[in-house]
Symmetry: C2
Subunit: 376 residues, 2 copies
Amino acid sequence: MSIHTLNTPAALIDVARMRHNIDRMQSQLDKLGVRFRPHVKTTKCKQVVEAQVAAGACGITVSTLKEAEQFFMNGVRDIVYAVGIVPTKLPQALALRQQGCDLKIVVDSLQVARAVADFGREHDERFEVWVEIDVDGHRSGIQADDDLLVEVGRALVEGGMTLGGVLAHAGSSYEYNTRAALVQIAEQERSRTVRAAERLRAAGLPCPVVSVGSTPTALSAEHLEGVTEVRAGVYVMFDLVMHNVGVCDLENIALSVLTTVIGHQEDKGWAIVDAGWMALSRDRGTQKQAHDFGYGQVCTEDGRVLGDYLVSGANQEHGIVARVSKPDVNITETLPIGTRLRILPNHACATGAQHPEYQAVNTDGSTEAWPRFYGW
Amino acid sequence: MSIHTLNTPAALIDVARMRHNIDRMQSQLDKLGVRFRPHVKTTKCKQVVEAQVAAGACGITVSTLKEAEQFFMNGVRDIVYAVGIVPTKLPQALALRQQGCDLKIVVDSLQVARAVADFGREHDERFEVWVEIDVDGHRSGIQADDDLLVEVGRALVEGGMTLGGVLAHAGSSYEYNTRAALVQIAEQERSRTVRAAERLRAAGLPCPVVSVGSTPTALSAEHLEGVTEVRAGVYVMFDLVMHNVGVCDLENIALSVLTTVIGHQEDKGWAIVDAGWMALSRDRGTQKQAHDFGYGQVCTEDGRVLGDYLVSGANQEHGIVARVSKPDVNITETLPIGTRLRILPNHACATGAQHPEYQAVNTDGSTEAWPRFYGW
């Protein structure tokens, strides 16, 4: 198949851009002297993860146990499930470990730490557990200076489990857009997580792994002293949110949605395309950023950015393409029926999730289907 | 399986509520004396569509040719593909018709009407084509009084195709929330579509079908003189957007996402749940409505609405549950780790699309997996 013959809508991966993004992150972390553990939730795609591992990644991060199961089947052993475990999911985690998967699980409460230890002893399994650290008030985790941190660590060790390390994610880094602010939040993520590790060690507990990461902080950190590994996901594709944060150019965005113009409302300067929110996702992550890209930036079929033409509205299978600065009264001539366009997405994780497969596009325009999975 | 043993997150369908919603719409349209053609894009689920057909539906509406293919395989013959066709999709439409599917396609431009006629004659296929009418400036379609309407109709007939009728969708009905406004937009949808049909007939062209519909207008129309069929989709599940529009109660919403509390941020009054935007969708359809439900309304595991506890934030696999009126400082006691909750969604079409299957919940709490498909 070629990009010109694909059915639309379709999720395209520009393979050259993807490889560039993978190499950029891997070199950055090689330079900083830490291991890299990509978050595969962005693509849930075997071929993408193989490229990440080939470039030097050490293990992967997952957001669901299904991702762990799928990638373990594909030969990845070293996996951290970076969402706080609940007792009802322990049998699924146990099954993975019993099959030989080096699965690490995460806790941020005494109640769950004890439940893991009880369940582990009951099933003769020494779970490796990492403690989640809250470095920015963004979501889950224990603050580095909270007494609870040592209590949780101790409950795990005394309960016979392996205390593998600490893990943090500076999710608030998505809210900044200057180099100075990103350097600062990266340093905050690093220093607070390292502090948590030091507190555990000072209490006589082990803490071999110090794991931090988000795409903006990973690309902005100036040093990572005390950190052993970094996690990041969306960097592999990038998207308009990351462009607004300031960590990529539009030309780095490797994911786009191929679509066809199916009609017009000439008076309004609208072209109607066959990519609605089902193909683009409902993500409006740029809505509150400095540059609101609507439901996506319009590009030509070969990937050239088309000025300020955006997907300004989206229904399930209809997108509305309009010029933002001034309605294009010649829209029927600018984008005639049948014109094929690429739409750069707000959020690569959300847009990818709408598609059963990617179409990997090589530099000669040939394409290859790369399946992705979904569900739990 | 039972609702108490399902893995979370999971998309639940309350079967009793669904049947009530199906019966309500079917009786309304029986009373108004028109056929009902449900839009299956909401669920893409065999079992749901079987219940709609059993209740009296005549044919279905689809938003993708894949839906047409899947439901034709399941035995539905009478299908309208309600998104404007483009020439590149004609081979797929042709294949369906050649297999015996009574597929109707839709156009709203002279260019595509001619392309359909040319392609049809070339392949010896008399396509049945409906002309899309714009009744509210919402999206696609030709205005009822535009000369283009008759030109398109004539191009189809003279090109040897079957002019099957006119089709409209008052998508702007979602923007209203009073009975009076809904009655008015329903009447506008009806009168303009009927006017289009009359103009075609006055020009000596056939127009047997007059098809209108949206969930709000279908439930608000006081009469449907001149209309032959109605289409609606989301009524089968309902959602918080429809609740805000005023066409259902919270107790009618048949779709919810089952989730588990995995942690807390006690100081902030947050419970963290394992349903993030991947399970709930990124849809924030209530954001601009009178009542903003965040990412969803929290209910107990058995479906009782939990005051003003909402999913106030969502990451990919994490949701943040908080009380809107005042942070719940006892959140760890109100919703302890392991608590299972149901989340009512903003938009049933978007939330369903995130899940490979529904779990149909019977009144005794037993569950059954109902698969749904996705993609194009």
